[in-house]
Each structure stands twice: as structure tokens, then as C-alpha cells.
Amino acid sequence: MYQDPVQWRIEVDRLACSGTGLCLGTAHGRMRLEAGRARPVDELISPDDGVMDAAETCPMEAITVREATTGEVLAPLR
């Protein structure tokens, strides 16, 4: 039976983001800077540990990763 592959959604709080660029290296290829603030290259992605690390380490706590269908927060966890 066909099952949808798990997808994650990347959200960036553009007001909280201060453009440190930390996510650009940690989640290489997944994030970009636009006018000095981070944006996901694609909001919906297949699971990627680098994106989890970026959400866990963002100094401004500006990145949230959710399970796309349920909306459950995957990172940051604390």
C-alpha cells in the first residue's frame, strides 16, 4: 500500500531572526539569507538532521521544525 513519505516543515520567525547565519552552515543548502534574515529554501523537506541541529542551536530560537501533517514540534525541544 502506498504511504506518504514523512515530510517536515521549516518555520522561521523573521522577527526573532537576527541573521547570525548559524543555520546556513548547520543546515547547508536548506536555508538562505534574504535581506539579512533567514528563510528556508523549501518549507517542506524530507527529514534532515542538519535542520534539527539548526533549530536546536539557533541563538535566537527563531527556527521551528514540525512534522508537516500533524504539526507536532520536532525541534527545538526545550
Partner: protein
């Protein structure tokens, strides 16, 4: 009018001028660093390079040639690209300004995915909302130190009474170093951050000494965990999130940065405000300028004496129209990029009213300063208390007489004798 720091810098000494002339005659790339480090001056050559050749070739004191990046956009591109490997730069043939390359296993010498795995262990403790809970502690500490200075003086020494106690106490508490053991730690830390002030052997010995110190701390703290960073590292170690070497070296990195870097910066900021005293007066009269003033000083002060930690290209990468080949070493001068006229209007002028100040004082990319919030909070508390309590504060003599600590990674005055 504010006296421009850059204007002061433009007065090059004779040996620097001679060097520039010989460089154009010689066959190889110019020798790096370009000249003696003087106070908070940024060597003029950086600004010429930023304008004309933001990615250029230099010959390093150790390990041969490297690329030097001095342009703002080029530095940001470099720092955001993990294909420039910090780990590869731990190899002993890496071109560099320090006698030894960094050891592997420290956050600063890591690449993804290791870097993210370790950084998330320690990141929580340094987030703005966690650090803001420390503000009252900071203020109490600074008040007590300044009480002591006021009662004993004038004169007083801002390095001993402000720049050392505040960051040392904060990082020691955050980390969980027993207060009575901080002297042992301090013994190694000055050597650890040397460029030319100590030999390779002395630096290696200090690194070993610090690693032993950390291992002892970890052993003692086991079974007595609290909410400090040492406990966080031990829990992560036991959970298999990082190795013992990674815990020890990351711990040292955090301690060193939280301590040497912040105390240097508090000293430098105090020096800058008192050597161009109209800036100090502005801050005393208008405390609302504090936040933008701190950002402006983070931009203008070249905290690093020379260059940066190196990274090496893991493949061919183009930056600013220059092809960096796989294996080649790259360093950057952040302070040059932060005076890039493509980004900052009148970049050499210190202005507390800049509308936008996207400086790179805390770096950029995945190695963005872990302690940025803590450092900002410490600077703010230190300067608020200083300007409010001592509006007549001034150096006891000419700024040129202030002694500096040469040959360290970060610039810092050895003492800041003040009166009021």
C-alpha cells in the same frame, strides 16, 4: 564631532610604510601580519585590501601561504559555507598565525554534523532568555566591585575591578568551576590564548594542563550534578552524545571564550570610551544610546590582534571572483569587513546612531559566538554602572601610556588606571 578611530589609524609608523614599499617589490605574497599591533588600531593595509582586493594572498608566520579575506560580503559568504572546513585546519601543515593549530574536538575546530551535535548540547545555556535571568547577578557583582574601587580610590584599575571579575565570575558560575579552583584555571588560560607571547611547547603544556584540569572537574562533579554547564556536559557524555575528549575540549573552549574574550572586550570598550572621552560623556548623558553604542563598539574594535582561526577548502570554491582551490587555507580579518564602505557609511567614524549595524563582531555562520548574549549583557551592565556612578571618570594619563598585553589572540590593555 567624534574623533574618528580610523583617522588615528591613518598615522602609520615608519616601519609599516617601509614594509608596504618592499612588498610591491618582492616576488612572493606579502608577509602576514602586516605590522605591529598597536592599541585598537587596525592596520591601514586591511582597508586598502578591503577596497581593492578583498580576497588576497599572504604569507603566514607558520605553514606558508594563505588567502586573506577583508571584504564584508566575502567574509559572510566564507563563514556561511561549511565546505570551508575548520576540522581540516587542525592539520599541522595549515597556514596560521598561532604557533600551533587548534586541537580537534573543540567546537571551533568542528564541521557539520559533529558541530551541530555538540553545539546543541551547550547552546541552551547561552540563549537570550536564559542569560537575561543572570542580569541581576551581574549588577550585584559589578556594584560590589565598583564599591571597592570607589572606597579605595581614586585612582583605580578598571581591568582588575571590572573587566576581570565580571566575566570570570559569570563563566565560572555558569560552567560550574568551584570558585576556589579558578586560580588554577587562570594559570593556564593566559598561555592558552598566546600567539607570539609564548612558545609552542608552553602552549602545548597549557593545553594539556587545562585538559587535566577539566578531567578532574568532571570526575569530582559526577554524582553531584546541578544545572551548570559542566553537569550538562557530563549528562551528554553519559548519554553517548559526545566523547570524553569532545566534552573536555568543548568545555575548555567555552571557558576560554567566556573568560579571556569577554574580559578583553570589556577592557577595550572602556579604553575606547575613555581615550575618546566625548563618547563616554555621550553615554553618561544619554543612557538610551547604550545598546547601539555597544553594537558600534563591537563593529569598530578589532578584538582579534591578527587574522582569524584558519579554515581549509574541502573543494574548489569561488569567493569574490577568486578561485580557492581544494586544500588551500583561508583566514579573514573581521574588523576590515566591518569597515567595508559598501556596507557601512563613513565606516571609520564611531557613531552611536547608526540606523543599521549588521556587524560581524560575533562572527557569522555556524560558529557564530555561542556567548554573544552573555557578552552583550556583561558589556551593558558594566557600562551602565560605570557611566552612572562615575560621570567624571577619566584615564589618569595620556591614552598612549596605557600598557597593553602583546602577543595574545585578543587585544587587551594590561591595566586601565582611572581617576574620577
Amino acid at each position: 564631532m567624534h574623533e574618528s578611530l580610523g583617522f588615528q589609524l591613518s598615522a602609520m609608523n615608519a616601519s609599516q610604510k617601509v614594509e608596504i614599499m618592499t612588498v610591491t617589490d618582492s616576488a612572493g605574497p606579502p608577509k602576514y601580519p602586516f605590522g605591529t599591533v598597536v592599541r585598537l588600531d587596525l592596520h591601514r593595509r586591511y582597508l586598502e585590501l578591503c577596497r581593492n582586493e578583498p580576497v588576497s594572498r599572504v604569507t603566514m608566520p607558520y605553514g606558508g601561504e594563505a588567502w586573506l579575506i577583508t571584504g564584508y560580503h566575502e567574509i559572510k559568504q566564507f563563514l556561511a559555507d561549511p565546505r570551508f572546513s575548520s576540522h581540516a585546519a587542525t592539520a599541522h601543515d595549515t597556514a596560521r598565525v598561532t604557533p600551533l593549530p587548534l586541537r580537534p574536538g573543540n567546537l571551533l575546530s568542528m564541521d557539520p554534523p559533529d558541530h551541530g551535535r555538540i553545539r546543541k548540547v551547550v547552546a541552551h545555556a547561552f540563549r537570550p532568555r536564559i542569560v537575561s535571568q543572570l542580569a541581576d547577578r551581574m549588577r550585584a557583582l559589578v556594584t560590589a566591585e565598583l564599591d571597592t574601587m570607589e572606597n579605595a580610590g581614586p585612582p583605580g584599575d578598571l581591568v582588575q575591578r571590572l573587566a576581570i571579575p565580571l566575566p570570570v565570575r559569570m563563566i565560572v558560575e555558569l560552567f560550574g568551576v568551584p570558585y576556589e579552583e579558578r586560580a588554577e584555571f587562570r594559570r593556564f588560560s593566559d598561555v592558552f590564548v598566546a600567539t607570539s607571547a609564548h612558545t609552542k611547547e608552553e602552549i602545548d603544556e597549557a593545553r594539556d594542563g587545562l585538559e587535566t584540569f577539566l578531567r578532574k572537574l568532571i570526575a569530582k562533579r559526577r554524582g553531584n550534578l546541578s544545572d551548570d554547564l559542566l553537569s550538562v556536559l557530563i549528562e551528554a557524555l553519559d548519554a553517548g552524545q559526545l566523547s570524553e575528549t569532545e566534552a573536555v575540549r568543548t568545555g575548555i573552549g567555552v571557558l576560554m571564550a567566556g573568560h579571556e574574550t569577554s574580559l578583553s572586550m570589556i577592557s577595550n570598550v572602556s579604553f575606547l570610551l575613555l581615550s575618546q572621552r566625548d563618547l563616554f560623556v555621550q553615554l553618561s548623558h544619554d543612557p538610551a544610546l547604550m545598546d547601539p553604542a555597544i553594537e558600534e563598539m563591537l563593529r569598530i574594535i578589532p578584538l582579534r590582534s591578527v587574522g582569524s582561526f584558519p579554515r581549509r577548502a574541502s573543494e574548489d570554491i569561488e569567493i569574490g571572483g577568486v578561485l580557492i582551490r581544494r586544500g588551500e587555507t583561508v583566514i579573514f580579518q573581521r574588523a576590515a569587513g566591518d569597515r567595508d564602505e559598501r556596507v557601512f557609511e563613513t565606516p571609520d567614524t564611531i557613531r552611536f546612531d547608526r540606523e543599521s549595524n549588521p556587524h560581524l563582531g560575533f562572527g557569522h555562520g555556524m560558529h557564530f559566538c555561542l556567548g554573544a548574549s552573555l557578552a552583550r549583557a556583561e558589556l551593558k551592565v558594566a557600562l551602565e554602572e560605570l557611566t552612572a556612578r562615575f560621570p567624571t571618570l577619566r584615564l589618569t594619563g595620556p591614552a598612549e601610556d596605557v600598557p597593553w598585553k602583546p602577543g595574545l589572540i585578543a587585544r587587551a590593555p594590561a591595566a586601565l588606571p582611572v581617576t574620577w
